[in-house]
Amino acid sequence: MARYLLRRLGQAAFVLWAAFTLSYAILFVLPGDPVDIKLGGLESNAAPEQIAEVRDRYGIGDPLLVQYGKALRNALAGDFGHSIQTGAEVRTTITDALPETLKLTAFALLLAVVFGAGIALLATYVRGRALRQLLLSVPAVGISVPVFWVGLLLIQVVSFQWRLLPALGNDGFESLVLPAVTLALPVGAMIAQVLAKSMTTALAAPYIGTARAKGAGRVRIHFRHALRNASLPTLTLFGVVAGNLVTEAVVVETVFSRAGLGRVTAFAVDRQDIPVVQGVVVLSALIFVAVSLLLDVLYPLLDPRIARDRAPLRRSAARASAVQGAAA
């Protein structure tokens, strides 16, 4: 178990470094120049020497490798420098915006799990064929509608017509409901699809027959025997979508005019504010890695075979079926 965890930690560190370096390289080769964007407005007639002075201040004039070395050293200390557009520290820009996005994504994940798993379990539990098909087709709808469309629709109907909930801003729990529902919809749908599929597979497995023969009731078979085995792919999927929620937040926060990391990201990307983008990329990688690590700790608890040597095979099989499920 200790070796297993150590190996996972090593991999996590490598992923973080790779995310930093790749994003650095990609951002550097992008055409355009953030200082030009800031100072080269159409009304500007900045002298070349003034622009050079600003460039020096942000270290954009140094050779690439020197810049990279400095950036990596500072990043290890959690320092991503200053935003080129606003001049604020990248660290504070991100930590100021993060809590709102965390609130939103946590609530959305909760909704997604409750409703996604609920639909999957219900669909595989009910006996009526028609009802079962109906329930199984719900997630497909959730996955196919674009997030921004759902958001705009909810705003128009719930907020502007019924005037039940605010459409905008970050004021309290009420303003959290609509964006969280919007964000939860595709995630919940994916969870429902994957879980329903693994539940169907699990319920057809021979050990279910054994359990039934031993006299286990329907509820016990469904939730105790089948769900535990069927939950691994869903758990893996959960890790992927949890990491992706930051990206989804870009759209949802824009539609609902919420402050948060998504808005910070959208603005920084648009303005090629490299230090901020870099900070966000590393943070997203960190979230991915942290969630993966957490899952890696959870897998052996659910399935003790995983921590043994054959474990990686089992786990990648679980991943593969999760991906299949999501794509289905």
Partner: protein
Amino acid sequence: MLVPRRTRLLAHLPGRRRAVAAGAAALALAATAACSGADPAGNTAADAGPPVSGGTLSFALAIDPTCLDPQQYGLNASLNIGRQLVDSLTDQDPATGEIKPWLAQSWEVNPQATAFTFKLRPGVTFSDGTPVDAAAVKANFDTVATLGAKAVIASGYLVGYQGATVVDPSTVRIEFKAPSAQFLQATATVSLGLLSTATLAKTPEERCLGALVGSGPFVFGSYKANQSVEITRRAGYAWGSPLWTKSGEAYLDKVVYKIIPESGVRAGALESGQVDAISDIQPQDEARFATGYRVVTRPNPGFVFALQPNAARPVLDDERVRQAIQKAVDRPELSKTVLSPLYKPATSVLAAVTPGYTDLSAALAYDPEGAKRILDAAGWVPGADGIRAKDGRKLSLDVVFGSAFNASQSVLELVQQQLKRVGVDLRLRKLAIGDQNNVIAAGDFDFTYYNVTRADPDVLRVIFGTQGTNRGRLPAGPQDTALTQQAQLVDPAARAAQVAEAQRQLVDRGYAIPLFELAQVHGFSAKVQGVTLDASSRLTFHDTWIKG
């Protein structure tokens, strides 16, 4: 100019725009008629009753102001907030373009337009209690000059700045190395609004985030990035511009700006009463506010949205081709279809509200037959696909543009169709801001497309002068002489003559293909009264009040 731009992830759905356009046009016409009566700002305040003090105005902005310091940043969102926080030495009458006293009671300009002496109004203080005296004014101009490129717009107004002299505590003289007739108007802009010396001592970054102390009718309260900005009334304010109707303090207790990037949500928020006012109503949303709301609108002064040819490129270096394109554009059609009547067809390179504007609508009339004749005579023969060619070269030109104004894509698509009718192929190249800057700097384009807001005709010298940015790579010529001349003339009539000559030259020689005048279009709930737009089309909230 910098209009709300970017983060339009969801911009508008393409189909909706055209469907609503016709209805919008008709209804917005009614709105314009209502607005263009006695009060250009749209205040039909006849039965509003006596103004009352107090209350909070919540105003939805399309984008985050990013940096609140008006001396540094050029976004409309920032300048519209900054305008409430700082006063300027002078003010400019939006109706006549005339410069009026504000914090300066009077001024003198030497005949060479190199020295400007301002006599300051006594008793004016910044909100930290320090006086607005000659030393503070000097410190402001010195700081803008030092900020250089960081003061995107303001530093352009101070090109050639030699220094300021404190003559006595209430008299300050500002001197330039070369004639700078535009400077007087520049002192009326929010970009050269005055900040306290303590503010000037702060870093540019601290100022961006709101560490701003001005002498304006409102004081800065708080700024939450991507979320909101709050400003509150300055107690004891008593030095308002003579162009305002109320003397003394502002009516409103507070203004809360909320940032709502999605235009449909912004419109819905006003309709459902979640905010009192919104900025940047999109042409397709105008119909929603035709009745029961107050649409406050004014064209942006300065250089209109135009195609600017790169005169150094083969094909476009031929004046005849440029002149043909000038005739092939149907400007009224732009307003009627993809925009709205609030966006007027261009009748010169300057918008009609710009001081010194000359009406050149005859030279800009739609004349496709004339365009065809010129192209025929120049040897461009229509090919099988309708596109003209000469010596094996197609008459195919590109235009580089950005997302500064939401409707730009539709405008250029229509221009593309119009040019096609006379056998010219226009290729649209939409680029991100950074790429756009690179392409333009490298000269790798046939046309650029943009506008620049400025309530002074000197904007043309900055754009087209051989000593200016000169993106069109114009050679020296009569237009350059006229532009240099106007910068040196203090006498308004003499200056206007040179400005008129420059406009004629630019239009006749096809150095710019003017398209339409950008407009500021803000929507207010009917209970909000007394909103005005200044000469630069920035909002002022000093006279604004809310009916109980």
